[in-house]
């Protein structure tokens, strides 16, 4: 099994998808001649030519909308949004156009497109290039939302996203691009299917993207025995996998990279509470970033998103006291 970087797994998925299906095309800013700002389209222009691999002007709205139109006409476009924040100027085309085409045409049109965007904090890009904004799109019926956590899931989930008949938002944690891991190209992922990465007895941790790796480190640091579920797909999230695990452990913690308010973890906690209330051993809770923009200063940025130390502290405290621990910003008396 080859070992490769996360970004190379993306390249491999795009290459294999384009080889398998001539209707797959990719476009975005600097993805062709420059091979992608994060080198996620290395070699594609040379291999597939300028008809299928296109540089665009800095026009997210137009090229995202063009992907919608091309998808409706039988192509499978994959567009790249360099930094997730740039979705802001293209959101109409996703939330209001792509997500509604099937509905408004009574199923006559579908929109098999993928929007790839790099996401997340940790690299010193400042608050306009470091956000984790799944909640911008997760509340729009008609859009699927996927986030891989390692090279294997990057490859398998991207293949699944491209093959999917609906519009898929595919968010790549930027901090992982250089990370290495084994990739088995024969592993097929299914949109909407979680991965159980660790099995244990004390509690269930549900996470997504790079927070999966943080949670894994925290489980190891704290020495507890836990189920670790990598959702992989946020919409539709794998309710059954989560419920099965919490049925067994009786405890749930959701680890999210985005700020506390309005985060997707609330959905998981609410669902588990509703379905399993009487069998829970303690209140399910979330570990998130505080309600602030991503700070630039390195020390502060390291504290912004949940880190393994903070997650480990909250895991141990919750197990010890059978209660929901306060996040660090309350413990430190910064916010009431």
């Amino acid at each position: 099994m080859p070992t490769m970087r996360f970004r190379q797994a993306i390249v491999a998925a795009l290459t294999d998808a384009m080889e398998a299906d001539s209707s797959v095309i990719i476009f975005g800013e600097d993805i062709a001649a420059a091979e992608g700002p994060f080198k996620t389209s290395e070699g594609l222009l040379a291999k597939f030519g300028p008809d299928r691999v296109r540089d665009t002007p800095i026009s997210e709205m137009a090229f995202t909308g063009a992907a919608v139109g091309a998808a409706m006409m039988g192509m499978k476009p994959v567009v790249e949004i360099m930094f997730m924040e740039f979705l802001g100027v293209a959101l109409d085309q996703l939330v209001t156009e792509a997500a509604k085409m099937r509905y408004l045409s009574k199923g006559q049109y579908s929109v098999p497109m993928v929007v790839r965007a790099s996401s997340g904090s940790g690299l010193g890009f400042g608050c306009q290039h470091s956000q984790t904004l799944e909640n911008w799109v997760a509340a729009t019926p008609g859009l699927k939302v996927v986030t891989p956590s390692d090279p294997q899931s990057a490859y398998s989930l991207l293949r699944a996203a491209i093959a999917d008949p609906d519009p898929v938002m595919f968010f790549e944690p930027r901090i992982l691009y250089a990370e290495r891991g084994e990739v088995d190209f024969s592993v097929k992922a299914k949109i909407g299917q979680a991965r159980l990465l660790l099995t244990g007895t004390n509690l269930t941790i549900v996470s997504l993207g790079n927070m999966v790796n943080v949670a894994k480190a925290a489980i190891s640091e704290s020495g507890i025995s836990a189920d670790l579920i990598d959702l992989g797909t946020l919409v539709p999230w794998d309710k059954q996998a989560v419920l099965n695990s919490v049925k067994k452990t009786g405890r749930l913690i959701v680890v999210e990279e985005a700020p506390l308010s309005g985060g997707w973890g609330s959905e998981i906690v609410a669902t588990v509470t509703k379905e399993l209330f009487t069998s829970l051993k303690s209140a399910p809770f979330r570990i998130t970033a505080p309600n602030v923009p991503v700070p630039f200063n390195g020390t502060l940025e390291a504290k912004f998103a949940p880190n393994s130390h903070e997650v480990s502290r909250q895991i141990l405290e919750s197990l010890k006291n059978n209660s929901v621990p306060d996040p660090w910003w309350i413990v430190e008396g910064i916010v009431n």
Partner: protein, 330 residues
């Protein structure tokens, strides 16, 4: 009842059929307005009275496998392209027999069989989508074209600029049709836009452009044919500005009190239906009597269509869960 494709085929080189379709649109809009006023239509409506020559002119020069991305003021374009009055009215009245099963409403008409992409209720929202459809045609090496129809107000939104720029650098087979009806919602164009001739905006993208009298169906057809032929033969996009006039208000009960006195009356002298009728009588294709008979037949047809739609069933609660994703099982 004829299919959308058959309705479309009727427009082929048949001037009397163009007139008939224009009458259909006019009567449809009049009745829609009355139904709205009576409370039989909920939500909102955006009428295209006065803009029928552009709708029918466009439909008569496009092939049915070309695609059109139009707007919330889309009843006329959709009927012209082939959607039936029954299906359109049923949609507007929220009936399950509507083109979107009654789940879309007045602003959202669609018919894939004749290339009507779902019309967008977002100003400029459909422009990038037409560009994308054209991109697909180019890559698929097809000779189809995509058309984006939008109003004068849309030329001030970012999607317009980004889309024309992208279409120009990629030399895409797309025709941008600006239906300049003088008003963007409640604002006259001169209060929102520093130039009157919006087609000139294409100069910024080195894109061929032209303006046309949108009240004259032959003029509309001639310019669009030129643009369509250019696009089909690999010559890239064109911006066509049709000078029309919105005879009704922006939406619903808007009576457009903001219009300068006499402006509507001046434009009504060039009512496209009046001009087409005169043209056909002048050519001897119609007489005053046969034209009057067509108007009266259309009134009867629309009356019976309304009666029929009113009998149609409502969608069920189950229907609102359909067609969101391809596989909604979760």
């Amino acid at each position: 009842m004829s299919t959308s494709l058959q309705r479309r085929a009727k427009l082929k080189d048949n001037e009397v059929a163009w007139f008939d379709r224009m009458l259909e649109i006019r009567e449809f809009e009049k009745q829609t307005n009355l139904l709205f006023a009576s409370g039989a239509i909920r939500g909102t409506t955006h009428l295209c009275i006065g803009q029928e020559a552009l709708a029918v002119g466009l439909a008569s020069v496009l092939n049915p496998d070309d695609v059109v991305s139009a707007t919330y003021r889309g009843h006329g374009i959709s009927l012209a392209l082939g959607l039936s009055s029954h299906s359109a009215l049923a949609e507007i009245m929220g009936k399950s027999t509507g083109c979107a099963g009654g789940l879309g409403g007045s602003m959202h008409l669609c018919d894939r069989s004749v290339g009507i992409l779902p019309t967008s209720a977002i100003i400029g929202g459909g422009i990038p989508i037409a560009v994308g459809a054209a991109l697909a045609f180019q890559i698929q090496k097809k000779s189809n074209v995509a058309v984006a129809v939008f109003g004068d107000g849309a030329t001030n939104i970012g999607a317009f600029h980004e889309s024309l720029n992208l279409a120009a650098i990629w030399n895409l087979p797309v025709i941008f049709v600006c239906d300049n009806n003088v008003y963007g919602e409640y604002s006259r164009i001169n209060t929102t836009t520093p130039i009157e001739d919006l087609h000139l905006r294409a100069d910024s993208y080195a894109m061929p452009n032209m303006k046309v009298d949108g009240m004259d169906i032959h003029a509309v057809r001639d310019s669009l044919e030129l643009a369509i032929n250019r696009a089909r033969s690999g010559g890239g996009p064109t911006l066509v500005e049709a000078k029309t006039y919105r005879f009704a208000g922006h939406s619903r009960a808007d009576t457009a009190p903001y219009r300068p006195e006499g402006e509507l009356a001046e434009w009504e002298k060039r009512d496209p239906i009046k001009l087409t009728r005169e043209m056909l009588i002048g050519k001897g294709l119609l007489t005053e009597d046969t034209a009057t008979q067509m108007v009266s037949d259309m009134e009867d047809f629309m009356k019976s269509t309304i009666e029929s739609v009113q009998q149609d069933p409502e969608p069920t609660t189950k229907d609102m869960f359909k067609n969101i994703w391809t596989e909604p099982e979760w």
